[in-house]
């Protein structure tokens, strides 16, 4: 992989490393989830975040602690990237009592309310509408902070998203709407892909633009530096009262997410970032050309923010935290059935 030092080099060392760490946590978490799913400890339909870390980690690095974060069914990366306890996150996916939501949400609805994450809606279009609402609430309360909503390109097919965008612009709400567009073309895997976003608009971002929202089109959602800068600018804009910002981040979909049920393609080998080969991997081309984690690791090394050895050490550290978290969750009990109908009303 070739890349210039320009990307990661534009950020401070601390920010760059922090983004790398978030990406590693996101990636290793999902790889562990595959294991747990294969052994039926995580059950049901899962949506993995592999391949989208370049956007999520960058946005979450730029986010403020006082910001409110909302996600969709593809939330694992956002949850752990926001700093949620790994054990509690695994436990949530496994339906354990020690889960972030006591096992009530599972993969579809995972979120960490203690870190400013609000309800994760699994209804397409739900997240942007709730995020606009959270922004409305923040504005009414007047205490600062912005609402950041992560959603996919299909959300804009839903009328409710259109209605919410119109209102966000009309009432100048402090919302950053991050559209992770992972439906953009992927060569020969088109036939096996999920249905793509189906929009008549020539460009997806024309929709928020038409509705009066300041719109940013990221050139490449795998470029964490670009996404980080865009998010920082967006926050400034929102906090200044200038209204919402829509960030469209195009992401080449990871091939393992192409199937109805996601398919593991083996643990990421960070050595690819340092000249190693991805040969033999089913997702070889994607890994070499589009993997945001590989790219960022290479950029950090090239920028001199860290040595390869330091990066490997960070990865090892993340892996052991992941293992510990998974073990915690496996050892945790299931919730007591008598609690099933408790806490319906506050």
């Amino acid at each position: 992989m070739t890349c210039t030092a320009g990307g990661a080099g534009e950020l401070s060392r601390d920010a760059a490393i922090s983004i790398l760490e978030r990406m590693l946590v996101m990636r290793r978490f999902e790889e562990k989830v595959f294991e747990l799913h294969d052994t039926q400890q995580v059950v049901g339909i899962i949506h993995v975040y592999i391949g989208q870390e370049g956007t999520g980690a960058a946005v979450l690095e730029a986010a403020g602690a006082e910001d409110l974060i909302l996600s969709t069914h593809r939330n694992h990366g956002h949850v752990v990237g926001r700093g949620a306890d790994l054990g509690a996150t695994f436990a949530e996916l496994m339906g354990k009592a020690t889960g972030l939501l006591g096992g009530r949400g599972g993969s579809f609805h995972a979120c960490d309310p203690t870190r400013g994450m609000l309800q994760t809606s699994a209804i397409v279009g739900g997240c942007p509408s709730l995020a606009v609402g959270a922004a409305y609430g923040l504005k009414q309360r007047g205490g600062g902070g912005v609402a950041i909503g992560f959603f996919g390109d299909s959300a804009l097919e839903e009328g409710i998203a259109y209605e919410a965008l119109n209102i966000a612009a009309l009432w100048k709400l402090p919302a950053i709407l991050v559209c992770e567009n992972n439906s953009i073309g992927v060569g020969e895997l088109k036939g096996d892909s999920y249905p793509r976003s189906i929009l008549a608009s020539e460009r997806l971002s024309r929709i928020p633009e038409m509705l009066g929202i300041h719109t940013v089109e990221i050139a490449n959602g795998a470029n964490a530096a670009e996404v980080f800068a865009a998010t920082c600018n967006a926050r400034r804009r929102c906090l200044a009262g200038d209204g919402p910002v829509f960030i469209e981040s195009p992401i080449v979909r990871w091939p393992g997410s192409q199937f109805v049920f996601p398919k593991s393609m083996g643990a990421t080998d960070l050595e690819v970032a340092f000249g190693g080969s991805a040969a033999g991997r089913e997702d070889r081309e994607w890994t070499e050309e589009h993997d945001p984690l590989i790219r960022w690791a290479a950029e950090i090394a090239a920028a001199g923010h860290a040595t390869k050895e330091q990066i490997r050490e960070l990865d090892a550290n993340v892996c052991s935290r992941i293992d510990a978290g998974a073990q915690f969750a496996m050892d945790s009990p299931f919730p007591n059935p008598v609690t099933a109908t408790q806490r319906i009303f506050a």
Binding site: E157, E158, G159, I160, A161, Y162, E163, N166, A169, L170, I198, L199, A200, S201, E202, R206, I207, M210, L211, G212
Partner: protein, 313 residues
């Protein structure tokens, strides 16, 4: 005077007569409502006559129309018997829907349905168009308020993607219920949405029936050719409040009857004769109202309950 000029004047007179008919009907309905003899939440199409007459005059028998909550003019311009429409508004058995539908739920063969839900008929129109015979078109009327609904977005998106033969016609009177357009959206004119969905779009002065016809003909040709939907924004004035009995503001300018009459007068028609025609139409409509109220039996409740569900043939 040349033949074509005469012809044009005759056509304009015919359209004017149609518009007068529509206007008179609505004035009579307003009178009936004032006298508390026509019930319900009425939304009159006074001020929209040029659009109704203009659009309907371009349609073929196979074409279909979906209306919204201001439907009377559409139904009349499509050729429905005014007596049946009036009877429907008065809840009579001889009404278009035997008194079951009322003002916002008129139905007929060509103008398929109206609706009380803002944006409600847009997706229905798209579905109908998706299976329409090639060469035919479906007109979907909506107001500018509907352009902010999710239903509008989903309908425009699907129609454009599937290239369904819909002509979306927005009657933009600048008001959605009780607030102005600017209070509902930062988007300016509705015509801009054509750009968003990649479909041909025009805006036109909706008080000028000739301009309306020209625009409709241009866009209908595209629609019929199978190139996909089109959007026409007709600017009209809301000469009456949102619903009859509301005290809020409405406009006094932009009466399509005035626009047409000025043109007829310039073509040599006697203004006194025009005023007389207006009068005559109004008297006729009021007489229709009285006759319907007096003679038409009210809808019969002792009717078979199978009206709720269709019977298997």
């Amino acid at each position: 005077m040349s033949d074509s000029t005469t012809q044009r004047r005759e056509v304009l007179e015919r359209h004017h007569g149609e518009m007068l008919r529509l206007r008179a009907f609505e004035e009579a309905v307003a009178e009936g409502h004032r006298a508390k003899r026509i019930e319900g939440l009425l939304h009159l199409s006074i001020g929209a006559e040029a659009v109704a007459v203009g659009v309907m005059s371009c349609l073929a028998p196979d074409d279909r129309v979906y209306s919204a909550h201001r439907p009377h003019g559409h139904f009349l311009a499509a050729g429905n018997d005014p007596r049946a429409v009036m009877a429907e508004l008065a809840g009579r058995e001889s009404g278009l829907c035997r008194g079951r539908g009322g003002t916002m739920h008129l139905m007929s063969e060509q103008v398929v349905m109206a609706t009380g839900i803002v944006g409600g008929t847009l997706p229905v129109a798209v579905g109908h168009a998706a299976v329409a015979a090639p060469g035919s078109a479906v007109v979907a009327f909506f107001g500018d308020g509907a352009a902010q609904t999710g239903a509008f977005h989903e309908s425009m998106n699907l129609a454009a993607l599937w290239k369904t033969p819909v002509l979306f016609v927005c009657e933009n009177n600048g008001w959605a219920e009780f607030s102005s357009r600017a209070e509902h959206t930062t988007v300016g004119n509705v015509v801009r949405y054509g750009d968003l969905y990649g479909i041909p779009a025009r805006e036109v002065d909706g008080t000028d029936v000739d301009l309306v016809i020209a625009a409709v003909q241009e866009l209908l040709a595209l629609v019929r050719a199978g190139g996909g939907p089109c959007l026409l924004e007709c600017h009209i004035a809301r000469l009456r409040p949102h619903y009859e009995g509301d005290w809020r503001e409405h406009s006094a300018d932009g009466d399509p009857l005035n626009v047409t009459e000025e043109r007829l007068i310039a073509a040599g028609i006697d203004p006194v004769a025009l005023a007389a025609r207006r009068d005559a139409e109004l008297q006729q409509a009021l007489a229709l109202l009285e006759s319907v109220l007096a003679d038409e039996p009210v809808a019969n409740p002792a009717d078979d309950p199978s009206l709720v569900f269709a019977r298997t043939p």
